[in-house]
């Protein structure tokens, strides 16, 4: 089979992406912002009644122990999966073309797969003040007991829809529409100024 040649993807954040320390960092950097640029961002949806079969497929294809239940998820670094709505899941992989791995597994009777790799931008916020900065954006509980490791949440910030996964005790991955990503990124940088932030 001929090797797939995918177009080189450019970051929508680029004009506003300035690596280095910014804001009030004289007393230390309390959050680190970065764009993770995963190769694949997939949305999987099950028809009513097919949710458990879809979860099983995601487990088999990704090798991740995706838990059943609202907002359940798992993050392994290179690969992540989480539920963001009833019967709907986001699956993320470092490598491009991960949608191919699901080919044949998700039959039309089970559900659908939509490749959103070019439609979403993944932003990571990490550090001791990550919860603090996130709480300024989204009206949800970011404390670890309420938002456990690997879990996903759907919410929005001023009509910019966001899917959030906790990928570490003090780390969150935010998936936003690519077309709004630069605006969201600028807002995130402004919100991080008071605690001192570093862009990596």
């Amino acid at each position: 089979m001929a090797e797939q040649h995918l177009p080189e993807r450019q970051s929508p954040l680029e004009p506003e992406y300035h690596p280095g320390s910014h804001g009030n960092f004289e007393h230390g950097v309390d959050v680190i912002l970065s764009e993770t640029r995963p190769g694949s961002i997939l949305q999987l949806a099950a028809w009513p009644g097919e949710e458990k079969r879809l979860i099983e497929i995601i487990r088999n294809v990704t090798g991740l122990a995706l838990p059943d239940g609202a907002g359940g998820g798992v993050s392994s670094g290179a690969r992540a999966a989480f539920g963001f709505a009833p019967g709907k899941f986001t699956v993320v992989d470092e490598a491009e073309g991960f949608a191919q791995a699901f080919a044949g597994a998700i039959t039309p009777a089970i559900g659908t797969l939509t490749d959103l790799s070019h439609g979403r931008t993944a932003i990571r916020i990490a550090g001791p003040k990550a919860e603090w900065v996130m709480a300024k954006f989204f009206a949800i509980d970011f404390a670890l007991p309420a938002f456990p490791l690997g879990a996903g949440r759907s919410t929005n910030h001023h009509d910019i829809f966001a899917q959030i996964q906790r990928s570490g005790a003090d780390q969150f991955d935010i998936y936003v529409f690519r077309s709004f990503a630069r605006s969201f990124w600028k807002a995130l940088c402004h919100a991080s100024e008071e605690v001192g932030y570093e862009v990596q």
Partner: protein, 92 residues
């Protein structure tokens, strides 16, 4: 005002979109019963008290929900997925 989404948990009302009265019964599309269509389009109970409503968690999981809301106090008495029929148990 907080609405407890059955999937997402308690969220601010700003994340939700009101989708109308949950007591309406839509006639079959082929129906020519003008009284039934008239009732579907215009007749509302408009109670001062518990009211069956349809909401969508449009700023979250995007599920359509059955909500019972008190129109006087804005207390949310119950929420559930609208899937499987939007008509809520009549409480008013």
């Amino acid at each position: 005002m907080l609405i407890t989404c059955p999937y997402c948990g308690p969220r601010d009302v700003i994340e939700f979109t009101y989708q109308g009265d949950g007591n309406r019964e839509r006639p079959q599309p082929a129906s020519q019963n003008l009284d039934a269509w008239n009732a579907y389009v215009y007749d509302r109970l408009n109670p001062a008290g518990d009211h069956n409503e349809i909401w969508q968690h449009s700023g979250g999981c995007r599920s359509h929900l059955r909500v019972v809301r008190n129109t006087v106090t804005h207390e949310i008495l119950s929420t559930s997925f609208a899937r499987g029929g939007h008509k809520t148990e009549s409480r008013s």
